[in-house]
Amino acid sequence: MTSQPYFPELRLMLPLTVIRRERLLPDDVDGVVEVRANSSVSLRDVVARGTNPAPYVLIDAMKFFRLRDPDQLPPLMQVEIGDTVELNQVIAQKGRRRLLSPIDGRLAYAGAGRIIVQSVPTIIELEAGVNGVVIEVKKGRGVVLETYGALFQGVWGNGKRAIGTLRSEPEGGMAQVTFDAIDIGFRGALLVTRSPLTHETLANASDQQLSGLIAPSMEPDMIDAALAAPYAILLTEGFGSMRMNSTNFRFLDELDGLQATIDAVLPAPLEVRRPELIVKVQLPSVGYRPPHPNIDRPLAVGMTVRLSRGDMAGFVGEVIDLPTAPVLLDNGLRVRCAQVQLNTGEKRVVPLENIEVSG
């Protein structure tokens, strides 16, 4: 029996790539796409609109007008199906007896002796989330957008989107970004910090009117505060007190000063999007077509990987061996592993499940 191929987790971190993103309304929402194929959209543009179901009011018109036959109702109607109606507007009339709308809404149905009025539904607006081009329209559902740039995916977001200039925190960390600072260059920026988030950091970011924060981690008891923050938050490592690893920080630091967008998607069951940062970068030449992410590569010797767990989480290295037999870990589990030589020179035996690739 030979070893079976293993496809590791993919968390993209690419300096220049084609980025395709699907933007769809929830599957139970009826909607309309507002943009056309090949049109350009920016981050905040609404690409589709849908309506949430709204309550209905059922009126027994037979009883109200004392009708003997349901067919007597249609001639009495004063508004058409689908028409908007206002509170107390006459919707049906027989002689001097008038039936008034009990709510603001829309006439949904009139028949079988009954009238149904729907209250005003709430509108769902679907934003593009990226600056790009519409390459496909999915009727009634949404669009597929394409753009290019540097791409960095994190693990958690607070559900907000932001656009701004990417800035690395100053020497000394976030504490140096204060009101007292003369430098107002951080205002509206997407700030990268190497330290775990604290309540102080969040307050400071609010005071400085940052548009977004990219941080390695935070403790779980800060989730509510992070969700309530008026700016986008993207975590790169996860929950706990991990600092940002140097590979991630270097990648982001090299993009310092460039325009970027954060789509800090809040993870949810069945949510297929990842919280991510897209940075606008110059193409090396006119007409250059950036490569697509490589999403279909099995793990192999020589591949560059990133550790996603353990005391070396975030470190990057090269796979130097893929033993076929399971390896006994310190904790007693016996699992398939890879031997990875880290950039630091250290060799580690790592469970396959704890390896990610960057595309």
Binding site: S3, Q4, P5, Y6, F7, E9, L10, L12, D27, D28, D30, P53, Y56, L58, A108, Q118, V155, R194, P196, S217, E219, P220, D221, I223, D224, L227, E237, G238, F239, G240, S241, M242, R243, M244, N245, F249, L266, P267, L270, V272, R273, R274, I295, D296, S308, R309, G310, D311, M312, A313, P326, L328, D330, N331, G332, L333, R334, T344, E353, N354
Partner: protein, 719 residues
């Protein structure tokens, strides 16, 4: 003789399957339908893993010949579930040397003369969004409860229930249905020849609500009530998908769920096909569409229960978990989509509470450490613990989640509410089968067995088996097309035999002789052992071998399945014969220090490895430092540095200590169990209490008091 037995079992399985109506699920027409089936490929699409098993005839008998697993690709970045299937089949081809797919990824059906391809492909799935379902029935305790039982094996969320007891106006009921945005409305009610008008009223409400929904979003209607109304239902719902099943409650005393279950499976297949890219392609290959995994698991549990004694199957998945019990001559399947060791780790923590997890930890852990572990597991569902501390956290979540699954499931095991107490002793199960990566991918059969015992705490004598490859789910689907294959595969060594466990109930005194065991193996060799209270004792007996065992309890108040001595024939396994002399309910200590004296010893006893004692600083409350980015930094997301594995000499010394461990444990551990019993308090699993952690609460990292030790007060990851 064996062939005769197999024929008998096959007849039983066929008889069971034939009790379901032929009309559902509709068998899809397939060009290979008439080809004799010699090879079968079954695929299970889970939220985290996609698994495949290959069954083929070896010397005329169906055998499991290969299995493979890969990550599910329905989500980012692939977004196509079929790619995962292709990868799993590619892996299968590489490991078995048999070509299963063409270059375009299509499965080769039927089997070709060069042995490429297979004759039959079936699929099961548990991934995707659950069907939002409105239940409608006449009487909550009759038709509604039967409809709910029928739905127990399908991945649905009951978002609204409407019955005659509902005091709301028609308008309010209609709005409730519309605002619930159902994918399915399940209408039951009226015994055969019984009530018609009230059932029609319910159907009218469903129709009115459906008509007010956008045409493309109208729910599937499933009618399983009084059959005299079928034609009128067809007329009422002529403009939407209507599924008809047999009445779930033909008389007040009879419940008939199979037809409705089959139609629910069809609805699940249809719904998932519309939602998940690649799902339809998988379903098109299968003669019976894609079956819900839980329903398949339930089918096999029932078959095994009828033929081999009461059976419990527990499947702890990444996104959902299933518990199928055949007990009291009745199958009960429970699905919990909030319990799982992957994407559902955060919701699992919400379900069991921080306390429930902490009770299983042999060290002091802050709320944040426990929550961070669960949340990170949700964010990276496939990752596995690399260190001792995180393994304890993972297994604490697993044990607490499985206990919660069991607690919630037990009330439906019987219709007699007298058996509803989830803390009452378990009924005896002849066999227990564990599935799901967290339980079965430990690489250590003894560890898997111990986790099963801790989580389920069986009583009496139980054969323990593991299903690391998702075979049970596959067989459930295969059973509908080729029942003989199921019988033969289950008869073969297709599941991992862990061994047989003999569980001692009562409260054995730690370190004192609890039971005497006399085992006679097939060669007539006799071994006798005295097993101390508070320990797991393993007698090696390889898989496939049998032995006669006599066990006698040595302390007053102890028993094995209500008997003081037993004589039985047991099956060996990779772990062996396990004498669980720790007692029932499991006397888990109430303090971290007490648990620290128990768990490492139990792990060592179960695996045969050297005991790994808990470092003293893990038992001292302190604020963890913020970790640095430097390689030497520890305690990243709970992966704290810890002592290296011991040398052989240290292991030998620890073995000596282990032999003395029961006494040490008796000295160091609290003994609340016996104390409580004397004081007449209920004998239940001991849960750590806030009052037992005064120091911890005083010294939380944030410096604030954290008396509210419950996730009700913690923020939710997915609001």
């Amino acid at each position: 003789m064996a062939a005769l037995l197999r024929r008998r079992k096959r007849t039983e399985l066929e008889a069971y399957l034939n009790s379901a109506p032929d009309d559902a699920p509709a068998v899809k027409s397939s060009p290979s339908a008439s080809v004799p089936i010699t090879s079968i490929l079954a695929v299970d699409l889970g939220n985290v893993h996609t698994r495949a098993v290959l069954i083929d005839q070896v010397e005329g008998v169906y055998r499991l010949v290969g299995r493979s697993q890969t990550r599910t690709t329905a989500g980012f970045p692939i977004g196509d579930a079929y790619v995962g299937v292709e990868r799993a089949l590619l892996a299968m081809s590489q490991s078995t040397g048999r070509m299963l797919t063409r270059e375009d990824g299509q499965v080769i059906i039927p089997e070709q003369s060069d042995r490429s391809g297979v004759d039959l492909f079936v699929a099961t799935a548990s991934l995707g969004r659950r069907l939002r379902t409105v239940m409608m029935g006449l009487v909550p305790d009759v038709s509604v409860i039967s409809a709910q039982r029928a739905a127990a094996g399908t991945y649905i969320d009951i978002v609204e229930t409407i019955s005659l007891d509902d005091r709301r106006s028609v308008q309010d009921q209609m709005n409730a249905v519309i605002l619930a945005r159902p994918d399915l409305i399940f209408i039951a009610g009226g015994t055969e020849g019984g009530a018609e008008a009230p059932v029609l009223e319910l159907a009218q409400t469903a129709r009115l609500a459906s008509r007010l929904m956008p045409r493309g979003h109208r729910p599937i209607i499933l009618y399983a009530g009084n059959s005299e109304l079928v034609e009128r239902m067809a007329a009422l719902f002529s403009d939407q998908v209507l599924l008809i099943a047999d009445n779930v409650r033909p008389t007040l005393d009879v419940e008939a769920l199979e037809s409705a279950q089959a139609q629910l499976a069809a609805a699940f297949d249809s719904f998932a096909s519309a939602q998940i890219v690649g799902f339809e392609r998988v379903g098109a290959l299968s003669r019976i569409g894609v079956q819900p995994t839980a329903q398949s698991v339930g089918l096999i549990a029932e078959y095994l229960g009828r033929t081999a004694g009461d059976t419990l199957i527990v499947d702890i998945g990444g996104g959902s978990s299933v518990l199928a019990a055949y007990v009291y001559r009745h199958l009960a399947t429970s699905i919990r989509t909030d319990i799982g060791l992957g994407q559902s780790a955060a919701s699992l923590l919400r379900a069991v509470g921080i306390k429930g997890v902490r009770a299983w930890l042999p060290f002091i852990a802050s709320d944040n450490e426990i929550a961070a572990y669960a949340y990170n597991k949700t964010l990276r569902p496939l990752t596995i613990p690399e260190r001792q501390r995180t393994l304890y956290l993972e297994h604490a979540l697993l044990r607490a989640g499985a206990r919660e699954l069991l607690r919630a499931a037990r009330p439906v095991w019987t219709t007699d509410t007298a058996d509803d107490d989830p803390n009452a002793p378990m009924p005896p199960f002849a066999q227990i089968i564990a599935s799901g990566a967290a339980l079965t991918h430990t690489g250590q059969p003894g560890m898997t067995a111990m986790l099963i015992l801790d989580a389920l705490q069986p009583v009496g004598v139980s054969r323990l088996r593991a299903d690391p490859g998702g075979l049970i789910a596959a067989l459930g689907a295969v059973a509908r097309v080729a029942p003989e294959a199921v019988v033969q595969v289950l008869d073969g060594a297709s599941l991992d035999d862990l061994g047989t466990c003999i569980s001692v109930s009562g409260t054995p005194r730690d370190g004192a002789p609890a039971v005497r065991v006399r085992m006679t193996n097939a060669d007539g060799v006799i071994e006798t052992h005295t097993v101390m209270g508070g320990t797991l004792f393993i007698i090696p007996l390889p898989p496939g071998l049998r032995a006669d065992v006599r066990v006698r309890v040595l302390q007053r108040g102890l028993h094995i399945g209500e008997r003081s001595r037993i004589r039985t024939r047991v099956m060996g396994g990779e772990a062996g014969i396990i004498i669980d002399a720790r007692g029932r309910p499991l006397p888990l200590a109430a303090t971290p220090r007490g648990v620290a004296a128990q768990l490492p010893a139990w792990y060592a006893q179960a695996t045969g490895e050297a005991i790994q004692r808990i470092p003293e600083d893990w038992l001292t409350p302190k604020a963890p430092a913020v970790t640095e980015a430097a390689p030497a930094a520890g305690a990243r997301s709970g992966e704290s540095p810890e002592p290296k594995r011991r040398t052989l000499a240290e292991a030998a010394r620890s073995k000596q200590r282990r032999e003395a461990a029961p006494k040490l444990a008796a000295l160091t551990a609290d003994k609340p169990e016996r104390g409580r019993k004397r004081r007449g308090q209920p004998q239940r699993e001991l849960i750590a209490d806030d009052d037992l952690f005064p120091d911890l609460n005083d010294e939380l990292p944030s410096g604030k008091s954290d008396k509210k030790d419950d996730l009700d007060d913690l923020p939710t990851l997915f609001p």
